[in-house]
């Protein structure tokens, strides 16, 4: 069965850019959420294997999503994809359990490298 990937970003364009940056040969089901609350709702359904999470979003931002996921016992891999490139932001998301930080605009090669590094895509 294919893995399930959740792309969380308030921007439709950003979600589209990220999805197009995923490895073409990667057999995954891609779902989308437009804010942190939607992301948590999708996560709680229990079948999200990997989440690409934006930080700056309305309703609930990415930091809050990570804090909530950690409080609930993080049960999926999270890659933060954000324009907030402050070193402190990158350190914080790692402390909150994200496996990697990818800066926007997404470079498909760098994203592929991150996914390979963590063994989640060929």
């Amino acid at each position: 069965m294919a893995s399930t990937v959740l792309v969380v970003d308030d921007s439709a364009m950003a979600r589209k850019m990220l999805i197009r940056s995923l490895p073409a040969t990667w057999d995954v089901e891609v779902r989308q959420a437009t804010n942190g609350l939607e992301a948590l709702a999708a996560y709680r359904q229990g079948d999200v294997d990997l989440m690409f999470l934006d930080l700056t979003m309305p309703e609930m931002d990415g930091f809050q999503v990570l804090e909530t996921l950690r409080a609930e016992g993080l049960n999926c891999l999270v890659v933060v994809v954000s324009a907030d490139i402050q070193p402190e932001a990158q350190e914080r998301v790692k402390r909150l359990g994200a496996i990697a930080f990818v800066k926007k605009p997404v470079d498909p090669e760098k994203l592929g490298g991150v996914l390979r590094e963590y063994g989640v895509a060929l």
Binding site: M13, A14, T56, P58, S82, D84, Q86, A89, K103, K104
Partner: protein, 203 residues
């Protein structure tokens, strides 16, 4: 208030492109101030000039403000304004490591420097993504300690509408905050819209 000059896809794209520029600006100002900068989702509005002062009041609140303006030119022409609440201007000196309250000239210099960093990074980041060549004039002090409603003389604007892009920066551990507004007249909105269309077509 209207955003009818932009389709939903164009507005979304502009917001995301601004978000990327804002992220670069946030990192730059975080490095200057040595503090973590909290970012919020940029807001994109197309407003009649008469609606710009109330939009500014909504952002800043009732306090008096000091503001720095910086023009930009090239493939896109307009003006960026960084608005500071008066109390935040004084806090800036403290953030920059001044032990004593600086004189007025020094305080103004700090405002110009920080504004220049914010505007250059934010608009530069936006321009880079849409492959626009942009230059900047020197930042200048626009007004000091004025009512926010009187900051912009909208009666002198000859455009029927203006693009109002709002980016807010605040510090997590301090009360300091400032607001970057990008103003483009209608003819430049159309130029920007074409550039966004080219960007979207390239995806």
């Amino acid at each position: 208030m209207t955003t009818a000059l932009f389709s939903e896809d164009q507005r979304d794209a502009l917001q995301e492109l601004t978000n990327i520029g804002m992220g670069q600006a946030g990192a730059s100002v975080a490095a200057v101030l040595g503090e973590f900068v909290q970012l919020s989702v940029p807001r994109i509005l197309v407003l009649k000039p008469s609606l710009i002062p109330p939009a500014l009041e909504r952002i800043v609140g009732p306090e008096k403000v000091t503001a720095v303006r910086q023009g930009f030119h090239g493939d896109l022409r307009g003006e960026a304004v960084v608005v500071y609440g008066v109390a935040h201007c004084r806090e800036l000196a403290d953030l920059m490591g001044y032990d004593e309250v600086p004189d007025e000239a020094t305080e103004h210099e700090l405002l110009l420097d920080v504004s220049n960093v914010l505007i250059g990074a934010c608009l530069g980041g936006l321009a880079e993504q849409i492959s626009a060549e942009m230059g900047f004039s020197a930042p200048s002090l626009m007004a000091t300690e004025v009512e926010v409603g009187s900051l912009l003389d909208v009666s002198r604007m000859d455009s029927p509408c203006a693009l109002f892009v709002e980016v807010n920066f605040s510090l997590e551990k301090r009360s300091f905050a400032c607001h970057l507004i990008m103003l483009l007249p209608e003819d430049q909105i159309l130029v920007l819209r074409d550039a966004i269309d080219r960007f979207l077509a390239s995806l």
